[in-house]
């Protein structure tokens, strides 16, 4: 009985600890760039939801595609209607792990390079990707940065020939999230 009680308390303790490792944000920022001969397109989304477990290194992102804002209304409409198809695929997400999380000292300010590996889901298609990034600890605030490139054809997004010199096949994605403790 005593042993069971001990186990139970230990279990609660471990569970408590597990919760203590979780950080989140509801207004992370993800932007993307398309550079092509005729026009550059930049879109921002500042309502990204992300969760980071600083012990296991598990990191997840989820965003609403129609929360990307473009400089031109027509671009935003085309993006939602013709390319990302927001009505059918409302969200894009990422679920992965910071491989070298143990190199990050969360108690000490600094810029820690990290590598993230996981599944990126866009337009209903999931691909395993690896990207470089950084965890920045500054005055007890945890921020995550990353920049990587995806190819639209990997996610079954077709760009008609007629606009192929206006939209790049290669899209650069930038991530910037500041986390708070759960």
């Amino acid at each position: 009985m005593k042993r069971n009680l001990f186990s139970f308390i230990l279990f609660l303790f471990v569970l408590q600890q597990a919760n203590g490792q979780l950080y989140y944000t509801k207004n992370g920022s993800i932007s993307f760039f398309s550079k092509s001969p005729l026009q550059d397109i930049e879109a921002d989304n500042n309502q990204v939801i992300s969760v980071l477990n600083i012990q296991s290194g598990q990191i997840e992102f989820s965003l609403l595609n129609n929360a990307f804002h473009f400089p031109k209304a027509k671009m935003e409409e085309d993006f939602n209607e013709n390319y990302i198809e927001s009505d059918t695929y409302p969200r894009s997400s990422f679920k992965g792990t910071l491989i070298n999380i143990n190199k990050v000292d969360f108690t000490k300010d600094g810029n820690y390079p990290v590598m993230v590996k996981g599944d990126l889901t866009i337009h209903g298609i999931t691909k395993n990707i690896t990207a470089n990034g950084a965890i920045i600890i500054s005055k007890a605030t945890i921020s995550a940065y990353s920049s990587f490139t995806v190819f639209v054809k990997d996610y079954d997004i077709k760009i008609p020939t007629i606009v192929s010199n206006k939209i790049s096949e290669k899209i650069q994605i930038k991530i910037n999230c500041s986390y708070q403790k759960k």
């Binding site: 569970l15 490792q21 509801k26 921002d44 939801i49 477990n53 804002h69 400089p71 027509k74 013709n82």
Partner: protein, 297 residues
Amino acid sequence: MRFPPILAIIALSSLSSAAFAQDSTELLRELIHESEINKTNYIENTFKYTRVVDGHSIVNLPAHVLDVRISHRFDPINSGLYNFLGLDAAVMRLGFDYGITNNIMIGAGHSVYQKTYDAFFKIRLLKQSTGEVNMPLSLSFVPTIAINTLKQFNAEKTLFSDRVSWVMQLLIAKKFSEKFSLQLMPTFIHADKISFAHVDLNIAAIGFAATRRISKRLNINGEYYYRLNDNGSAAHNVLSFGIDLGTGGHVFQLHFTNSIGMTEKSFISETTNQWEDGNILFGFNISRVFQLKKKHY
């Protein structure tokens, strides 16, 4: 109920790692749910463009967007091969529309037909939505004014007020699915005195419009206006079918209709051609939008 402590620790450690794995995903799910619970999702693209064929659709131009529209109507197809199935002759309307806000747009244009100048407002009153605010349909108000500037034989007897007509329209639209939307258009027309021999100058009509999405860049539209009075005049009800073709930059709307006029008063109350006689006109609109001011967000 007794088991060795080592087993308990193994069980615990596996449990706790399970807790890790579950917790971040669960927290994410919780946060997503939280972000969606008090949100209103507005229904966009009930129709593809701001016009169905001749008449207005529920769609407004976004704020600070200028739309340059050039519309053509050719002669009736049954005018024969000598007339190249009507394509030898055309009337056109040049128009400029502008989105003041996302819910208020204005427009003005000039038509060759009866040398008409026209201007309109399109004001959105309700927008179909789900979620926190659940609105089953969209509603807009469209007042239009048109001035026939054709030279009159008895010019000195024609007052300016005799040339002016105006139209009040309500657009009631509902998107039923990604592929299908319907629109009702109760319409009141005050016709001018010089364009047409009306029995009643004040004409009520009800319009019906539908759109069917075929692919990302192709829609099929239909539009019909039923006049409730002015039955003694030579006018017939207007019926039009068209397709919307997006090309990435320009938008083409190709259609078949029995009307030659492209302003509300003319196509609703002064259409003299009839489908059953084969007096069908081919026509097309070309539209190109320009973002005049960058969006703020």
